[in-house]
């Protein structure tokens, strides 16, 4: 088997007249944490489901662990852990029962599955809830249980579709910490997200997707370097004046993005640009100096924000 656990060439998925995934290529190496970043409807989840051998492609080639998901779906799925966008736990059953039955779906022995449960409960920080019906768990707990469940079969690749969507900030950080631990253990992660901070935190390498196509590929740092400047200055003059002052500000930085509520100025030194703006007699209502992020990369590539 090659070093690449996942190989995707010219992958296309059409629904009637709609092209959800439009001829994309990428590969994921062993022990790598690979991200698919893009807004809702970019084709990320569709791509994931094809790789996870639960959806059929229209054309192109896909190899997961050296096998074609269309021909050897169950064989591939035996080696995957999947965390879907929407939790699909058995809410009538308890936390422990959910872990148990999921392991059994893989055909694992009762003894083996039972031996894993304590570790998984600890990993998911759900020891106290072991005999609680899933129906009554909070969103963050359900999410952690879904992740723990996906690990019961000791997968070679863990596929996470929007792992923290819908969670509050604290629950997100707990989850990121858990995922980071998996990454350190060397498990191969494939993550879709529309949160740039999530992609920056968790992904070694990622592709930026929009409208079914790949817009860029690289590590978060590389992408920021390639498509953005080191720093960004965000200024607000009030929604009426933003467009008015934009032509003046444009002269003071490398690149400018005028959004409905604020203006982004791309530069190597944001403090200096701010001084120059004030020096030129313009006084923004608010200003913020920050580092460039993947959000800026996405804006540059598509002219749109990730979260709309």
């Amino acid at each position: 088997m090659s070093e690449n656990l996942i190989e995707v060439r010219g992958l296309t998925k059409k629904y009637d007249n709609f092209v959800a995934v439009d001829g994309i290529d990428f590969s994921v190496r062993k022990s790598e944490s690979f991200g698919l970043l893009g807004p809702n409807g970019a084709g990320k989840s569709t791509t994931m489901r094809i790789i996870a051998a639960t959806s059929q492609r229209t054309s192109g080639e896909v190899l997961v662990l050296g096998k074609d998901p269309e021909k050897e779906g169950p064989q591939i799925r035996a080696h995957l852990g999947v965390v879907p966008q929407q939790d699909n736990l058995d809410i009538q059953l308890t936390v422990t029962e959910n872990l148990y039955i999921y392991g059994r779906y893989f055909g694992l022995s009762k003894k083996f599955v039972k031996s894993k449960i304590n570790d998984l409960l600890e990993f998911a920080q759900l020891e106290e809830k072991r005999d609680t019906k899933v129906e009554t768990l909070s969103g963050g707990m359900k999410r952690r249980l879904t992740i723990a469940r996906s690990l019961v079969s000791e997968p070679d690749i863990l596929i996470l579709d929007e792992p923290t969507t819908g969670l509050d900030p604290q629950a997100r950080h707990i989850l990121w910490d858990r995922l980071f631990r998996l990454k350190e253990d060397g498990i191969t992660l494939l993550i879709t997200t529309h949160y740039m901070d999530e992609a920056e935190q968790l992904c070694d390498r990622l592709i930026v997707m929009d409208k079914g196509k790949i817009m860029a590929e690289g590590s978060p740092v590389e992408l920021i370097k390639r498509y953005s400047t080191r720093e960004v200055l965000e200024v607000r003059f009030g929604s009426n004046r933003n467009a008015e002052v934009a032509p003046v500000l444009e002269q003071l930085c490398e690149r400018i993005e005028v959004l409905p509520d604020r203006i982004l100025l791309y530069t190597e030194d944001a403090e200096e640009v701010l001084e120059n703006i004030v020096g030129a007699g313009h006084h923004p209502n608010t200003s913020l100096v920050r580092r460039s992020s993947l959000e800026d990369v996405f804006l540059r590539l598509t002219g749109r924000s990730l979260i709309e």
Partner: protein, 270 residues
């Protein structure tokens, strides 16, 4: 870790593991299911078996229909009805839950399980309930003296076959359902109700005008009831009809499962 890697392959009888999981979920409702399985027959036997039965006995004599008591006459039909209802509940609700409500099938489908093994597991679970319900029902029939013919026990496997046949078809239909409200209305009012009333359950189908007998011909309940009456007390059926009744039920079973397996697979791949 390495020990597991070697052991990890596709489970041989995938449906067995789905059955195991569905049993866990079903047994959470054990007392509800057991109450239905016991209360239903008791209510029917008291109101129709004894109430209507007494009326019939008083008017046309103790061996009025087919030369047997009214209870003996309706016992195979009631048994098949209970099998059909148990099987139906246990395929419809888990199927809707699996595809629509909690979407658990999509989680199961992320393991080596397939649409077919999931469908088979749901069906087998429904069969466990059906067998349990039929056994409970036949015990109560026995207590009411409705199982006194020497071959009465033969009504049990025939009722189970009826449950399996109807359950298989409902499994296939439920897997297509997107709007459950409409589905429940149609099934409840236009399938179950008429089937119970027009399948020769309470009187021989031949009593009805020929135009209405049609409902019986397409009803698994009528076919099972005829077989049950034949087996339990020697109700007269010619050899051709014996084959027709059996083939009808077997065809429903086989076609229902084939379509269910296909649709489960197709819907999960969407």
């Amino acid at each position: 870790m390495s020990a597991l890697k070697e052991e990890r392959s596709i489970p041989k009888f995938g449906a067995f593991y789905v059955l195991e999981a569905r049993m866990k979920a079903m047994l959470k409702f054990f007392w509800v299911i057991a109450s239905i399985a016991i209360l239903n027959p008791v209510l029917y036997l008291v109101s129709i078996g004894l109430g209507v039965g007494t009326l019939i006995t008083n008017n046309i004599g103790p061996n009025g229909i087919d030369g047997v008591s009214y209870l003996t006459f309706i016992a195979p039909a009631l048994l098949a009805t209970s099998a059909i209802q148990g099987a139906m509940d246990e395929v419809i609700f888990p199927t809707l839950d699996g595809f629509k409500w909690a979407k658990i099938f999509y989680g199961i489908n992320s393991t080596p399980q397939t649409g077919s093994t999931i469908a088979a597991g749901v069906f087998l679970t429904a069969m466990v309930r059906t067998v349990g319900s039929v056994l409970a029902y036949s015990g109560i029939l026995y207590l009411f003296g409705a199982m006194d013919s020497p071959n009465a026990y033969l009504a049990v496997p025939i009722a189970i076959l009826a449950g399996a046949s109807f359950g298989a078809v409902m499994l296939a239909l439920a897997s297509h359902v997107n709007s459950e409200d409409l589905f429940f209305t149609i099934v409840g009012r236009f399938v179950i109700g008429p089937m119970f009333l027009f399948s020769g359950t309470f009187y021989p189908l031949g009593t009805l005008p020929i135009g209405l007998q049609f409902f019986g011909w397409i009803s698994p309940l009528w076919h099972a009831t005829e077989l049950g009456r034949f087996a339990t007390y020697g109700h007269h059926i010619n050899a051709t009809m014996l084959v027709v009744h059996s083939l009808f039920l077997l065809a429903m079973l086989v076609l229902g499962l084939i379509f269910a397996f296909k649709q489960y697979t197709r819907r999960l791949a969407k």
